[in-house]
């Protein structure tokens, strides 16, 4: 693999006496679909928070596109091309479906506050452009019909989908999905798997997927890393992971001799 898109090198984060993530190294190449799994509390979401700048690593390096992202505010990291969804859905609850996605186009605006006040032709042209982009995205993901609905009134699966749409509106190179299948029924999960693969192909972005549901992870990921107690215990293709004794031990416990 040439220069990876995202490169975590010996990343450790410590909260008091607890090492939430320790000595983690992880590489994601352009357009790759990587899974990150592990039992509850293994530190998967913490890894996301480290990559997106919500937490700062105690030691180690995180590089994106060859440049360090450590110490940057989350919005700057998003501007560099990392977008994420959240484990517990965090949509802008008072906004409509359309506005949720529109807000994510905010950082690509070429014109600022003065244009919004003067409301000249340049502003109008840009607003039309934004509206077009948003509607295209909503159409691709089948949410165009609900554009003026409050996002709170959407069914759970649609809310998850809307979060992905919103993240894509920032035009990311790397998309972090935090348990997108949580709370979905089997049919919705199959839909989701198609959707993730489609997203990766259509938008050409790499995807890092944190997920509990083995069917989903095994079904779509090209490569899987397994975390346990903040350490990476195993990495490989789905087939390798499935029969790795360390992974089985982490999930099911060791057999007593």
């Amino acid at each position: 693999m040439s220069e990876p898109l995202l490169d975590l090198e010996n990343v450790t984060v410590q909260f008091g006496g607890l090492k939430a993530v320790s000595e983690l190294s992880l590489r994601i190449g352009d357009g790759e679909l990587v899974g990150l799994i592990g039992p509850n509390g293994a530190g998967k979401t913490t890894v996301f928070n480290l990559i997106t700048g919500v937490y700062q690593p105690t030691s180690g390096a995180i590089r994106f596109d060859g440049k360090s992202v450590v110490g940057h505010r989350p919005y700057k990291i998003t501007a560099r091309g990392i977008a994420r969804t959240f484990q517990n859905i965090r949509l802008f609850s008072s906004l409509t479906v359309f506005d949720n996605v529109r807000t994510a186009c905010n950082m690509h605006l070429r014109h600022g506050i003065l244009y919004a006040l003067i409301r000249g032709p340049k502003f109008a042209a840009e607003e039309t452009e934004v509206a077009k982009t948003v509607m295209e995205l909503l159409e691709i993901f089948g949410l165009a019909g609900q554009r003026d609905q409050s996002c709170k009134s959407l069914p759970y699966g649609d809310q998850r989908r809307l979060e992905i749409v919103r993240a894509l509106a920032t035009r990311p190179k790397l998309l972090l999905l935090d348990e997108p299948a949580a709370g979905m029924n089997p049919t919705e999960k199959v839909e989701l798997m198609k959707l993730i693969r489609f997203t990766q192909e259509k938008f050409g972005c790499a995807v890092l997927l944190v997920e509990h549901d083995m069917k989903v992870v095994m079904g779509i990921c090209q490569r899987i890393s397994v975390l346990d107690y903040g350490r990476k215990i195993c990495e490989g293709s789905p087939a390798e992971i499935r029969c790795d004794p360390k992974v089985i031990a982490a999930y099911l416990g060791k057999e007593e001799a």
Binding site: P74, T78, C105, H111, G112, A116, R119
Partner: protein, 338 residues
Amino acid sequence: MERSKVTLFSTLLLFGLISFGLNHFHVADGSGHAVTLIQKYSYYYDILLTIGINIILAVGLNLVNGYTGQFSLGHAGFMAAGAYASSWLTLSYGYSLGGGAFATTFAFVIALLLGGVAAAFSGLLVGVPSLRLKGDYLAIVTLGFNEIIKGVIQNCDALGAQRGLGGMAPSTNFFWTYAFGAVTVYVVLSLVNSTYGRGFLAVRDDEIAAEAMGINTTKYKVLAFVLGAFFAGIAGGIYAHFKQFIHPEGFNFMKSVDVVVMVILGGMGSTAGVCVAAALLTILPEVLRYVSHIEALPEWLRHIAENRMILYSLLLIVLMLTRPQGLFGAVNLKRKKA
């Protein structure tokens, strides 16, 4: 031209015409002399101007408290900054422009804008350090800054200290008050109805998600704070040149609470509601004052009306219980298309 701009300009024109009418339309007073409408109905005119000032204050604060969700309790402080800055300017330099009506008005408007800038600057000073805090903590810090601004003025001899500051030209009239009111409404609505301005609402709804969507939450919070302070400063300047006397105690914590109540009553994040609430809460005490003076009413009823502050608070409690989203809270849910 965009519809919102057409609305703004036609509203300004309308206010200009009304103002002209108020100043030049003569009616007979009680003894048969011809007087202008303003002279005849000066009490109502005063209330009308107070409503306008309160609308500017409340709509500006609504950007901070309602749309951006940062609970500020220091609005009167920024109003004071604007009031004192503009008064000091017109008192020091206003007369050097010559005493003509045009020169006075010109000096007044420039002083208003500079007063707004001074208030915005104080808003920046307050906002940058305190916007790291959330909720109650932010409210307490802004309240503290309100008192600090008041304290600085109380100890500044050039601004009259405890004596207050008086002698400003009575430049405030219907036109300027409502013109600035219309501009305030226009600015706030144009902002929040643009892609850029949706950032304010995103910050209110979920700061972490907003940041993850590439929105610089600090910038938006400070911007809302500075704009809110700017309009408070304008309102302060208008108030100063209306009452022609200002005193630090007029800009205390209670004044801030008054404006917050208007915002809450109107519905956080509903500009139309906030305007109506500003008008209602300005008129209500006057109505109660009037009721308490009607001789024909039974004694006990007049007593209740006399204690209008108690009634006023009761009314608020009832409103909060029955309509926690504010009078107009639901209106803004039906958002227009982009």
